[in-house]
């Protein structure tokens, strides 16, 4: 179920005053089962890029291969491709139209040729997987809250059983709780269904926590394409592109600069906690050196306890977050 892009270029309104080169000569390979993050600031071409994955837009030049077949070949069945490569747009709640939630989710599977009964089975499965409560199935989608609408819309694509799921900023406009819920459920889908997930996001924190491969878009080109750790180590370049590495990267780098021997590759809070604790325990820190000398001379026993507590506190507090 691989997707391959070969020298793809896309230009909006070619030959007019509004000509924009959204993608410039992009080549990439997306194998089976990866969890990929795509990041880039507004106008970097990420939304244009993902629309190429399921042949919603035709590249100005270059080819797109799905399982080795050119998706823009004359006789290629692009409807089938679109049901295998599910795309959830930004603000997917704007696409809801049916009278009730269940019918809306059934729209996709029924377009695949399933009967209403079969579609409902798929729809219920999908709604369950996004954590949508059964008692709300018969509600109008327009009565729901923003987070619920988003779940319904994601379920609408999921119900088609895609082999690759692309989500464009699925967490835009959600509160922190809703954001974590949705992202956790997406990660769960990756595990349970084993499908490829491509997650477009603004937030480095979200990306760092979940993805195994990170593609950074800048000015219509791919700036970085590697593991999050590797990408975040270029945090100065990221800043120049108007992006930022996760906050934890900054903390780790400034700890290192100030003499604490931590692993600056840590991208999540949990990893950072481990690394900081290790560094503290190994005793290379000047923060602890004083304590150790005090201990060896055995002069001020009480003060040692307090000092130890204090040095631990910042690390613990961070890990709680």
């Amino acid at each position: 179920m691989s997707i391959e892009l070969k020298n793809v270029t896309y230009t909006y309104s070619p030959g007019t005053a509004y000509e924009i080169h959204a993608l410039k000569d992009i080549s990439m390979y997306i194998p089976d089962g990866q969890f990929i993050g795509v990041i880039g600031h507004t106008g970097s071409g990420k939304s244009t890029l993902i629309q190429h994955f399921n042949a919603l837009i035709q590249p100005t030049s270059g080819t797109i291969l799905y399982n080795g077949e050119d998706v823009w070949a004359e006789k290629y069945d692009r409807r089938k491709l679109r049901s295998e490569v599910g795309l959830v747009f930004q603000y997917p709640e704007h696409q809801l139209f049916e009278n009730d939630v269940l019918s809306d989710v059934c729209f996709g599977p029924m377009n695949q040729g399933l009967t209403r009964e079969e579609a409902e089975v798929e729809a219920k499965k999908a709604l369950q997987q996004v954590g949508f409560k059964e008692k709300n199935y018969s509600k109008s989608p327009f009565e729901l809250s923003g987070g619920q609408k988003k779940r319904v819309a994601i379920a609408g694509v999921l119900a088609m059983n895609p082999k690759i799921l692309i989500l464009d900023e699925p967490t835009a406009g959600l509160d922190p709780k809703g954001r974590d819920d949705i992202l956790d459920q997406i990660a769960e889908l990756h595990k349970v269904r084993g499908i490829t997930i491509i997650l477009v996001s603004h937030s480095m924190e979200d990306i760092a926590k979940y993805v195994e491969r990170l593609i950074v878009m800048n000015n219509g080109g791919v700036a970085f394409d590697s593991t999050p750790k590797e990408v975040f180590s270029h945090y100065k370049e990221l800043e120049a592109m108007g992006l930022a590495a996760p906050q934890i990267t900054y903390i780790m780098h400034s700890l290192k600069e100030n003499g604490l021997d931590v692993d600056t590759d840590a991208t999540t809070v949990a990893e950072a906690k481990e690394s900081i604790l290790d560094a503290l325990k190994s005793g290379h820190s000047y923060l602890l050196r004083e304590v150790q000398t005090a201990e060896s001379t055995g002069s001020v026993g009480k003060r040692t306890d307090r000092e130890e507590n204090e040095t631990c506190k910042p690390g613990e507090r961070r890990s709680d977050r």
Binding site: T16, A17, R79, R82, F97
Partner: protein
Amino acid sequence: MIRDITLGQYYPADSVLHKLDPRTKFLGTMAFIISVFVFHTMPGYAVATLFLAGMIILSKVPVKFMFKGLKAIFLILMITVVFNIILTPGEILWKWGFLKVTKEGLSMAGRMAIRLTYLVIGSSIMTLTTTPNQLTDGLERLLRPLNHIRVPVHEIAMIMSIALRFIPILLEETDKIMKAQIARGADFESGNLIQKAKSMVPLLVPLFISAFRRANDLAMAMEARCYHGGDDRTQMKPLKYAGRDYVSFLILVVYVGIAIAFRVLGI
């Protein structure tokens, strides 16, 4: 696919036409449209063609933009032509059942086709060289006398400028929703008329909802900035005629004069 309607889409360029006062352009377009209906002979249309070509060159807008607007009226154009050909009485050239093609019909159809085409291209020149805001400002000034007979000119102009402003936004929105539904397997192209109409539901419902939401937001934003209509409202850029506007009016008068002269003389 749906981005092909040029009406209401400004093309930025640095030309005399872009700099003209919107009122001049509006009156000029009116004069041109009238002239197209006043002319009724080939030499007349040649003059109109010359005038139109001159305007297109002056506007510095690529020609293909002018013709894009034509695609939208292609169907109307075809219907007009066909009906004119078969329904105009006169000297019969060809007959099949109750369908008659007459000489008068053919010439009438030709004339209507030219008129409609020129009408669309003429107004496209105006909308391509004038921003929607300028256009409604101009209209508001032109119609201001109607205020005396209690026509809410400012409000009408405001409604128009909002409507024009929203055309590209709604087009973009349509495009987005369409793509989202295509991604869910929707099919907007195949099927018979009823199936096609039915397949529009997943597009139209979200589109209407978003239009209402936008309207609501805009009304709220305007009220939050104390908008209360046209009374005592001044403009940031008041319209003033410049030298080039007077020159344009002179050219227009001459052009309309030629049109009337052609008609009177029957050329």
